[in-house]
């Protein structure tokens, strides 16, 4: 039997029984003070993963850009009677790994520890104290600000980071998603301990939190852990609804001069929400357009056919409000204008003609056939529980996923792309060497010649 016939035979099986394997059951409850808990038991290895997520990302920065990031990072710098060294020592002594992070929508603290009784107890007590009794020592505030300034400097030598910042700013204008996670040198230097404290008091509260627990514990133990973790948080209020993202009114091109050998190309617009009627249609369609690695249209046009770039891809970032739709590639400065044309044309063509029946079949096969791969570790389960919880998706979201993917039609996808994406009103960001753009200006209708005269030189 050759691979093709095996493939055909197995695909038949797959569509007859899309979810033969046990998909983990998500259990859900609330702590006494209103934090929502999502739990899946995974007793096979003696570890526990716990993540607590707050609607406290940079979208909540207000006029203090970078405050969410600063606050999140400072949690572990002092709690109760402990300084940062004491916290670190106690965690490391039991091999517990505490992580933290923040994005535009959310900020979180996560713990991985052994499920062994004493280690688990110690780790949970520490995490609870960090969460509910942070002291934000002045010395740590000052030090973190200093180091964030270095990190902001580092971004300037990274064309990808520069492109992303310029892209988000141009796509989102005065919406809070426009601002960089770590803020700006100006905004971050103006921060005080008081700012951090009041941000914490407002957003690190139980009713603004969800907890995801996966690991070698029973439901009843998980309930105790959740209370231990969140029980001492103020009840508080959920964060208010985010303002709506405004659609782009016109095409915008941003040039950033950078002494790099490649030009980083970012193209996009506001895309979709996590709870979006078009979520699956746009997700499946994008899988064909630029979301499936080497087999996608963008990769085929930019990389396989022309050898212009190592990576060319597109994605929707589903968020609380409309997250961005983004196409990205990097190519040597000489070929940037041509690569941009190809990307734009590929998108325009896809939006115009819609998805073919071969394409939708291939994308569905890959998405549904690979579903088990999204759930094959505790780490991934925590991730999935977090998304279900944070965006308030149905508890059977994972169980029904394949069926819902299978039910999406060609027409729905084509229609969604036509309604939602506007190839003539996109943001284009080019970060790279200006000289190359000038020398290559004739090859592109979107040539930079006009703008070069306006672009400031350093």
């Amino acid at each position: 039997m050759n691979a093709r016939s095996i493939a055909t035979c197995l695909l038949g099986l797959l569509f007859l029984s899309p979810s033969v394997h046990a998909i983990p059951t998500i259990q859900h409850w609330q702590t006494a003070n209103g934090a929502r808990v999502y739990f899946t038991s995974a007793p096979e290895i003696p570890i526990v993963d716990i993540r607590i997520i707050f609607d406290a990302g940079s979208a909540r920065d207000g006029d203090k850009s970078g405050l969410a990031f600063l606050t999140n990072g400072l949690l572990r710098e002092g709690a109760g009677q402990m300084d940062a060294d004491m916290i670190a020592q106690r965690l490391d002594n039991i091999g517990a790994q505490l992580g933290n992070g923040s994005l535009r929508d959310m900020a979180w603290l996560e713990l991985r520890t052994l499920s062994e009784k004493k280690a688990l107890q110690e780790a949970m007590e520490l995490m609870s104290m960090i969460l509910s009794e942070p002291t934000f020592p002045e010395v740590a505030v000052h030090r973190d600000i200093k180091n964030i300034l270095v990190s902001l400097e580092a971004d300037k030598q990274n064309p990808g980071a520069l492109a992303k910042k310029a892209f988000m700013q141009a796509v989102y204008g005065d919406h809070p998603y426009a601002m960089p996670l770590q803020g700006t040198a100006e905004s971050i230097q103006a921060m005080t301990r008081k700012d951090v404290r009041s941000y914490y008091d407002k957003f690190y509260v139980a009713r603004n939190a969800i907890i995801a627990i996966v690991g070698d514990v029973s439901r009843s133990k998980a309930e105790i852990l959740a209370e231990l973790l969140a029980g001492r948080l103020q009840e508080g209020e959920p964060a208010p609804r985010l303002e709506k993202v405004k659609p782009l009114q016109e095409a915008v091109t941003v040039y950033v001069d950078h002494p790099s050998s490649q030009t980083h190309i970012w193209v996009g617009q506001p895309g979709m929400k996590r709870r979006d009627d078009d979520y699956l249609a746009l997700y499946i369609g994008n899988h064909t357009l630029g979301g499936s690695g080497l087999t996608s249209l963008l990769s085929n046009e930019v990389r396989e056919k022309r050898g212009y770039a190592y990576s060319a891809y597109s994605y929707f970032s589903p968020m609380r409000s409309l997250g961005p739709f983004t196409m990205v590639a990097q190519t040597k400065n000489d070929t940037a204008a041509d690569a941009l044309n190809i990307m734009s044309n590929t998108l325009r063509e896809f939006v115009k003609t819609g998805i073919t029946s071969e394409q939708i079949t291939a994308s569905k096969q890959n998405i549904t056939g690979g579903f088990a791969l999204r759930l094959d570790s505790n780490r991934k389960l925590v991730e999935n529980l977090s998304v279900v919880g944070f965006y308030d998706l149905p508890l059977d979201y994972l169980n029904t996923f394949n069926d819902r993917v299978s039910a999406v039609t060609r027409k729905q996808i084509s229609n969604a792309f036509l309604r939602r994406l506007h190839p003539d009103r996109m943001v284009v960001v080019l970060v790279g060497s200006k000289n190359a753009r000038r020398s290559n200006s004739q090859s592109s209708a979107r040539s930079a010649t006009a703008s070069n005269t306006k672009a400031a030189n350093h």
Binding site: A3, A7, L10, A42, I45, P46, R76, A84, D85, A88, Q89, D92, N93, I94, Q97, K118, E122, P137, A140, N147, V150, K156, Q157, A166, T184, A185, A251, T253, V254, Y255, P259, Q262, L294, T295, R303, E304, K305, G307, Y308, A309, Y310, K332, A362, Q365, N366, I367, G369, G370, A372, L373, D376, S377, R379, D424, A445, R446, S451, A455, A456, N457
Partner: protein, 474 residues
């Protein structure tokens, strides 16, 4: 003012309070129930090694095929050719023309890719468990039957050049590491990076690629690793069906190319457009493969965790938090390298701190390890971290397969993975001091310092001027 206490004192005060928790945890970590899941080893008639690690937590499987060839097998003029060949293996066979491999894997819900390192080239697929046979049929086909078409080659060579631009040329820190290796190693093939020098990349011929394929791609030079929800006997049967028919061929013997002795400290400066400084110290150290004293290797591993394992490690607690000399720092050491490798300490200076002060601080760290025994508490903490981390690693079947594949491919043998925990437990403070003295000394040291040149234009300052509204376009 913030009270400053020395770490050792803090550590001791603290340990009195928490010693109980720690000791009981080390006992727990010694429990037999935490032993590694069994690895099944087979040898096919054509000399191909097969390793199977069952893990039935999820209905998935990963296949990895590892070839004993990588950038350390290369010589001047064709550096990076192993990686170039890896790219070309996606360009089709007689049976499955360009694109078919990826299309079939995708149609079966799979994820696939490949990676090249100094000591190996490996191809992998992650699939729902019933699709293993498809992955095996395809992977065994390209072990011998890749067509390596000339027209595809020229485009793919451009792709690799773009990859180098992205990963290395436009990344000041990556350039610094590349220069560090080029300076530290004189005749060892570790002196060039995996992706190779740009001039070599741009001058590969298709004949170079074909020859490399003929030289190294043979079942007797490969290891198949399968991990996941599988029955080892069934995996063996499939492996016999698909891989055993591939005929073995003679594989060239590698010249040793053992690095010549270093007679004193070396330095290299990297002056490129950049915005932040970077200091890297690289010490030449042995690995499990190169040493006659394996105990040294485990002691170096513990030492690496003392310096940079968790937030209480010396680099973070002393240099970043307490003295505020660095904005970030890290230590790296790969005990599974095939040849003598670099143990590196690197850091980005904090604001208003000079690279000289940061270099002195990093050297101060190795210096102290040579002069002062680490406390039993600090030793136990590092061991606990290493052993718990090993348990956490069981969460990823892909990572477990990688450990086995790498060990087997560099010639250490996968069994070292099973022995690892016991070896770590037996490391003493004296051994850590001994390896610090023996290996982390100036005669083995190369220092690389990145000095940013010409300021990169400040985006925030120029953004207003560079936003161009293109009205009326199509």
């Amino acid at each position: 003012m913030y009270p400053t206490i020395t770490l050792d004192r803090r550590g001791k005060i603290f340990m009195k309070i928490y010693a109980k928790t720690l000791l009981s945890l080390l006992v727990f970590l010694a429990l037999p129930g935490l032993a590694q899941a069994r690895v099944y080893e087979y040898l096919l008639a054509n000399g191909m090694k097969v390793l199977v690690k069952p893990d039935n937590r999820s209905p998935v499987v990963v296949q990895q095929v590892w070839y004993k060839v990588g950038s350390s097998y290369e010589y001047g003029g064709v550096t990076g050719i192993s990686h170039m060949l890896e790219h070309m293996l996606f360009k089709g066979t007689e049976k499955y023309p360009a694109g078919e491999f990826s299309r079939i894997i995708a149609a079966n819900g799979g994820r696939e890719n490949a990676f090249t390192g100094p000591d190996y080239t490996a191809y992998f697929q992650r699939m729902e468990k019933t699709r293993l046979e498809i992955a095996m049929e395809l992977e065994s086909d390209r072990m011998r039957n890749a067509t390596l078409p000339a027209d595809e080659f020229l485009k793919e060579r451009d792709v690799v050049a773009e990859e180098r631009r992205m990963r290395t040329d436009d990344n000041p820190q990556a350039r610094a590491y590349e220069q560090l290796r080029a300076t530290a190693f004189v005749n060892s093939p570790y002196n060039h990076s995996v992706i190779g020098w740009m001039t070599d990349i741009q001058n590969y011929s298709i004949e170079d690629v074909r020859q490399w394929y003929g030289d190294w791609y043979a079942p007797n030079n490969a290891t198949l690793v399968v991990a996941g929800d599988v029955d080892p006997e069934e995996v063996l049967a499939l492996a016999k069906k698909y891989y055993e028919p591939v005929k073995p061929r003679e594989v060239k013997k590698q010249k040793p190319r053992t690095e010549v002795e270093q007679y004193g400290e070396r330095r290299v400066t990297i002056k490129v457009p950049a915005t932040i400084e970077h200091v890297i110290l690289g010490y030449k150290v042995p690995t499990l493969k190169t040493t006659d004293n394996p105990d040294d290797i485990y002691a170096l591993e513990v030492l690496a965790w003392i310096l940079d394992g968790g937030s209480s490690s010396r680099i973070t607690s002393e240099l970043l938090r307490d003295r505020q000399l660095i904005a970030g720092g890290s230590v790296s050491y790969d005990p599974y390298s095939r040849l003598q490798t670099l143990f590196t300490l690197s850091a980005v200076p904090a604001r208003e701190t000079s690279v000289e002060d940061v270099e002195a601080a990093l050297r101060g760290q190795t210096d102290r390890l040579q002069r002062q025994l680490i406390s039993e508490e600090e030793l136990d903490k590092a061991k606990t971290q290493i052993l718990t981390d090993r348990i956490y690693q069981k969460d990823s079947i892909f990572y477990q397969a990688m450990q086995l594949g790498a060990l087997e491919t560099v010639g250490i043998g996968w069994q070292a993975d099973e022995a690892f925990n016991e070896k770590i437990k037996s490391v003493t403070a004296e051994q850590v001091m001994y390896v610090a003295k023996t290996y982390l000394n100036d005669k083995r040291l190369t220092v690389a310092i990145l000095y940013p040149q010409q300021p990169v234009p400040d985006f925030a300052r120029h953004k207003a001027a560079t936003v161009v509204h293109m009205q009326g376009e199509r």
